[in-house]
Symmetry: C2
């Protein structure tokens, strides 16, 4: 079965780039630099659904994206999570948080989204794609 | 420098066992089967502070604890996260969630804690220690 991106994840985010295992996407919320990593395999819900090789690859890609956010944005804290209580397709959140952001120190899940302008989303996608490609 | 557990993490949880890298602890909240993994190394805040070997070991121990919760409790969903906006010492949450638990589908962070009775905490610690040791 081929990989199909969940419709909610697709609607709520923009494709940044594809790594060996995962799609990297930007959540359409201008309040937080908020990336998603989604393994391009079918029928995944939990990390335990991945075989050892896939799991190692996922974790190496999480580290790449974490380093990219740190390098580009120097956040006060990274938040990294897989929750999936609503959208069960396996996906990881990697979010750059600042002491003075809109919700700190609260987590961001469940917050209202402030959509990017077309220009701002295009700039952010380009920016993150460039830095991820530098770090790979 | 030797490892020192953050005082808040210590106060809010019970030691279950020590793996090669991490302490495994039970959060003192009887509403959710909620475990912590804390690498026993000093001065860690982000996953990117770990070297490659330590990072691989952390991820293997996350998978062990995830499998233990699945094996023992058959949750509807696992929630796995490192947030650290309040307590910055690197720690991972691994939580077994059910469709009918107190907060589902909301995340649990920031919720009120319902402390275990002494008997219930002792039973849970023993239960999780036993299943983790079976899976290692």
């Amino acid at each position: 079965m081929t990989f199909q991106l969940n419709k909610t994840l697709e609607k709520d985010s923009f494709l940044i780039t594809e790594l060996k295992l995962c799609q990297v996407r930007l959540i359409d919320n201008a309040d937080f630099p908020w990336l998603l990593l989604i393994p391009r395999l079918s029928n995944l819900i939990e990390v335990t659904d991945l075989n050892d090789e896939e799991y190692d690859l996922l974790n190496s890609e999480i580290k790449i994206v974490a380093k990219a956010l740190q390098h580009e944005l120097t956040p006060d804290k990274l938040n990294i999570a897989t929750i999936g209580n609503v959208v069960t397709q396996l996906h990881f959140h990697i979010i750059a948080r600042y002491n003075n952001d809109k919700l700190f120190p609260k987590p961001v899940w469940g917050c209202e989204f402030t959509p990017y302008s077309f220009k701002a989303s295009t700039q952010s996608i380009h920016r993150f794609k460039t830095v991820i490609n530098q770090i790979i």
